[in-house]
Symmetry: C2
Subunit: 161 residues, 2 copies
DNA sequence: TATATTCCTACAATAATGGTAGGATTTAAA
DNA sequence: TTTAAATCCTACCATTATTGTAGGAATATA
């Protein structure tokens, strides 16, 4: 029962992308250093996210990555699923032919329920939700008294694996 | 996101133990062959279940294993947890010191929620539930018309991984 | 005593994870 | 036009986890 570094790195990178909310593409060098993730590894991760249409990649100088949709429309299950691949805790849930007599298997339904439940939890969180948790939640009316020094985000914020 | 063979083998072995409902200890040789699990591997799995008090082991000739409690009182989460170990999808959920700044980490709470949810699903299934799904559900009043020939369970029933 | 069992520990083959390395390609800026 | 900064691609590799196997020691019954 593991969510590998890929899933966690991808989540953190996407969250940072959301928080920066930059109109210009953000280069991975920036995110890699702020999140302390190997650049090369992160490249591969982001490439697959781009392939799935969650981010838009801009090549060439002053290129980088942009969220493909508003942060409120990107949920964790999408991110985790694309980088982790199949989320079924047992392979036969996805492909019944892998197990001998899957038709009569009792536990299979339960593994399936486990998968559905996990994805349900992840689907209930969008990047916007996560941003709100970070304390960047002063959307509607500026009501909360924010610290004067704008929370800079330069040094490794939300570090921690 | 995986439940390894240990968790699945343990579940199937326990289910078979429940279905046999034998007053005499059932030797692993029997279960291993009926479930097509390596005997030596199964030994190790059952030993840890015994250590956790889910089954009772009887050593020596004509020994074997017995459920330590009625099938209705043993849930899947206990089985899976003991053989799989920590079920947290990310290690810092269990031990916060493993992640740098876990105090300010947003995603950590979510990984924790994932773990809780999975365990919740597993906890909602007892061995008795699983037996019922197998069609051995004639508990309360013998109302359902059971096949005359007692369902023998000898050949590999509920095979499939 | 012979036999059938659990218990214990060490080893090993395979697969998955978590990267690194080295470039090729693209594109904006100088 | 050149240079530099970025993504893209693919192959390799080290480490760890998984999934067992092997061989016997301990235990208890018949
Ligand atoms: S059929 Fe795959 S777990 Fe039973
Ligand atoms: S502190 Fe471990 S995931 Fe954030």
């Amino acid at each position: 029962m593991n969510i590998s570094t890929k899933g966690r790195y991808a989540s953190r990178a996407m969250l940072e992308l959301a928080m920066r909310n930059s109109p210009e593409p953000v280069p991975l060098k920036t995110i890699a250093s702020s999140q302390r993730i190997s650049l090369k590894y992160l490249e591969r991760i982001m490439t697959s996210l781009a392939g799935e249409g969650l981010v838009i990649s801009v090549r060439g100088k002053s290129g980088g990555y942009l969220l493909a949709r508003p942060a409120a429309k990107i949920t964790l299950d999408e991110i985790v699923k694309t980088v982790e691949g199949d989320m079924a805790p047992v392979s036969c849930v996805t492909d019944a032919s892998l197990c001998g007599r899957s038709a009569v298997c009792v536990t299979r339904d339960i593994w399936r329920e486990v998968e559905d439940t996990v994805l349900g939890v992840l689907r209930s969180y969008s990047l916007a939700h996560l941003m709100a948790r970070e304390g960047f939640a002063r959307q509607p009316d500026e009501s909360r008294d924010a610290p004067d020094s704008a929370p800079a985000l330069d040094t490794n914020k939300q570090r921690g694996e």
